[in-house]
């Protein structure tokens, strides 16, 4: 059984309760959610919710059918099935004193990060990218140099002319 990771993006009514319906569905049916992000769109009556889940083909098929069945869900797309751009935002606070300082700056640069805040002993770095890129950054940094990590969860959009609209 392959347990592939899927990035599913949902356009839904921007109404109280809509988010709980999605979250509830996952817990009630025993599906897992690795991450979930949600915010209103340019059309304030709609929200865009993007989640990462994993499961075999049959489970993913059920997840998509069950999501579509929710009355508040207008449309959805499994971005893992198309050519898509995935992005996640990460804020990391690291130690940055002595020799570490230059090393940390260099690493942030390599990963295309920006240093947003500086103190004598720390850097706060912003990074965006697909989830595995952010993982790689964390792996590259010395473990005890990391003070705090905040990740937004993945979001995404299809490449090309295709657009998910109501």
């Amino acid at each position: 059984m392959n347990n592939d990771r899927h990035l599913i993006s949902i356009l839904m009514e921007n109404e109280a309760g809509a988010l709980s319906r999605v979250a509830n569905l996952f817990s009630a049916r025993g599906y897992n959610i690795e991450s979930l992000t949600v915010a209103p769109t340019d059309d304030p009556t709609l929200s865009r919710l993007t989640l990462v889940t994993c499961g075999n083909e049959q489970i993913i098929e059920q997840i998509i059918k069950q999501l579509n069945k929710l009355i508040d869900v207008v449309k959805l797309i499994d971005l893992s099935e198309t050519d898509a751009i995935e992005r996640e935002l990460m804020l990391v606070k690291t130690k940055a004193s002595g020799e570490q300082r230059a090393e940390m700056m260099r690493l942030a640069e390599i990963f295309g990060g920006r240093i947003l805040d500086v103190t004598e002993a720390t850097y706060t770095i912003e990074l965006t990218g697909a989830g595995n890129k952010l993982d790689n950054f964390l792996r590259a940094v010395e473990k005890d140099a990391i003070l705090e990590v905040v990740r937004s969860g993945a979001t995404g959009i299809a490449r090309g002319q295709k657009a998910l609209r109501a």
């Binding site: 839904m12 009514e13 709980s20 509830n24 059920q62 059918k65 069950q66 579509n68 069945k69 009355i71």
Partner: protein, 581 residues
């Protein structure tokens, strides 16, 4: 237009929807609504004795008539009491609209008196729910609720109404039509899929038609009968699908599943093409999934895509409504003058008749003690097979399903998915309100009947004369049977050391009570009871305490691993089956 209160708007909406009966129970949060009901008599309110019964009665009404059942309960305990009924309707896809009172908007979240998060509590067991926060949305929300409840795969919809919304005023406009951008069930089947399905269906050597509650919910019985007879294929129904195809017809091989007939389950196990229609491959039907229909290619017609390939992967899925899809299939077959393989079919029928000859529903009759199966056979005879039968949950439910031969849809009303003891009596009341001129009987057990007994008072008040057929075995028989088979007869907590005198109890509520202790008295008692057209009669049949339901597929077994009455002394179950229900 004069602005009117939210409570008045609600009542106007009910009238617009043609609601005949409202099943409910008052309380502080809904007082304004009750006040608005006071000065009108178009919508008749039935005052139950427990909110769970309000929902089951509305379900009985809906299941018997095909209309939407409507319920009104107060906040807090009112709505929590209703939850079991709502979950029941959800599992069996019954269209309901439930209104619950709520504390005033300003108090929501304050742990106010009789506040519960009704929308949160019911979310997992409704098709959809709403909390109305603005009087301006009230009428439209109600319209949406009725639309969502009754279209697509039906189900219960709850509207939570804060008290201030019922008091606030607005002009009343009821939308004629409603369109939801996020909800648009597929009704018409895909022509290409239908064509493919017809080809597969006609190529079958050992075909089997397996249909469920979806045929009844969609009023698809006419099309089902036409297609089945056009093909001359064998057909089985799930517990929820009984009556969609006439049980007395020779093509009907009985119910399938855990307590289905030998011929139905063997035909399922050995078929090469399975035509599943409005059925959801429930575990009570499939048995162990790996052993389910091992040689079959499967066509599945269902309006809910999530029912398809959920438990069993199918070869040709068709999303659509039963009558539409079956009509399209019939048209293709007729237009192209397609014929099934007559020779193969004749061989298949000979095989099925051999299985039939096992007489898997035979039981050992007795002159001494009343056999429960015998009571149902007599009930069938006395009512000439025409009564509406509701049932509670347990052994008696299975016997009613096996021995009463349902020839028309909506004649058999029971709780299949949730299996809610207590369902039967209020459901009978609801069915009787829908069809006052038809005989309605509630087949129940000594355990189940005690869960909603208080409704005998409601039935007196609203003159809903039904016949209660209590198969009194002194036990929680269905559970006792499992303890006998799988727990070496350790009958833990399944025997009732104390039972009420049901005859006196019936009389206390103003009804007629009868106790029947000998097989010779069964038919006479039933005749006497049904002759009392305008009385509710409680028939307490003291039945064999040791009788078991057969055939039975033990949990974890395949469809061909059935236990038959008296033949299988040694009952064993698969170890892995023990975790299953």
């Amino acid at each position: 237009m004069e602005p009117i209160t939210g409570a008045e708007i609600l009542v106007r909406c009910l009238k617009e929807e043609g609601v005949e009966y409202l099943f409910g129970y008052p309380g502080g949060a809904v007082l304004h609504i009750y006040d608005a009901l006071y000065n009108q008599d178009e919508v008749k309110h039935v005052l139950v004795r427990h909110e769970q019964a309000a929902v089951h009665a509305a379900e009985g009404y809906a299941r018997a008539s095909g209309k939407i059942g409507v319920v009104l309960v107060t906040s807090g305990p009112g709505v929590t009491n209703a939850v079991t009924g709502i979950a029941d309707a959800y599992m069996d896809s019954i269209p309901l609209v439930v209104f619950s009172g709520q504390v005033p908007t300003a108090l929501i979240g304050n742990d106010a008196f009789q506040e519960v998060d009704a929308v949160g509590i019911t979310r997992p067991c409704v098709k959809h729910n709403f909390l109305v926060r603005d009087i301006k949305n009230l009428a439209e929300t109600i319209k949406k609720a009725f639309y969502i409840a009754s279209t697509g795969r039906p189900g219960p919809v709850l509207i939570d109404l804060p008290k201030d919304i019922t008091i606030a005023k607005a002009e009343f406009h009821y939308p004629k039509k409603i369109k939801l951008r996020s909800y648009n069930p597929t009704v018409k089947g895909h022509a290409g899929q239908i064509r493919k399905a017809v080809d597969l269906i006609l190529s079958a050597k050992r075909p089997m038609i397996y249909t469920g509650g979806g045929v009844i919910l969609s009023e698809g019985s006419t099309e089902l009968v036409e297609l089945t007879q056009l093909l001359s294929y064998p057909i089985t129904n799930t517990l929820m699908g009984l009556g969609a195809y006439p049980a007395t017809d020779k093509q009907f091989v009985g119910m399938l599943g855990m307590h289905g007939t030998y011929e139905a389950n063997m035909a399922m196990h050995n078929c090469d093409v399975l035509i599943a229609i409005g059925a959801r491959f429930d575990d009570r039907v499939t048995g162990k999934i790996d052993k389910f229909c091992p040689t079959a290619r499967i066509v599945h017609v269902d309006i809910d895509p999530s029912s398809i390939s959920k438990n069993v992967k199918v070869d040709i899925p068709i999303v659509g409504s039963v009558p539409n899809v079956l009509r399209a299939m019939i048209n293709v077959i007729r237009d192209e003058k397609l014929r099934p393989d007559a020779e193969a079919l004749a061989r298949w029928w000979r095989q099925i008749d051999e299985w039939r000859a096992m007489k898997s529903l035979s039981y050992r009759p007795s002159d001494e003690v009343i056999k429960p199966q015998y009571v149902i056979e007599k009930l069938y005879r006395v009512t000439e097979g025409k009564a509406i039968i509701t049932s509670d949950v347990g052994q008696h439910q299975m016997w009613a399903a096996q021995y009463y031969h349902f020839d028309r849809p909506r004649q058999w009303i029971n709780s299949g998915g949730l299996g809610t003891m207590g369902f039967g009596l209020p459901a009978a009341m609801g069915a009787k309100l829908a069809f006052p001129d038809q005989d309605v009987a509630c087949v129940t057990g000594d355990g189940s009947i005690q869960m909603m007994l208080q409704e005998l008072a409601t039935m007196k008040q609203y003159h809903t004369p039904v016949k209660i057929v209590n198969l009194n075995n002194g036990y929680l028989g269905m559970v006792r049977q499992w303890q006998e088979f799988f727990y070496q007869k350790r009958y833990c907590m399944t025997y009732f050391e104390s039972l009420p005198d049901f005859v006196m109890l019936a009389e206390a509520y103003g009804h007629v009570g009868m106790r029947i202790e000998k097989p010779g008295e069964v038919e006479g008692a039933l005749r006497e009871a049904f002759a009392m057209k305008d009385r509710t009669v409680f028939l307490d049949f003291l039945t064999d305490q040791t009788e078991n339901v057969f055939p039975m597929i033990p949990s974890g077994g395949g469809q061909n691993e059935m236990l038959l009455a008296e033949r299988d002394e040694m009952v064993s179950t698969h170890d892995e089956g023990m975790v299953l229900l």
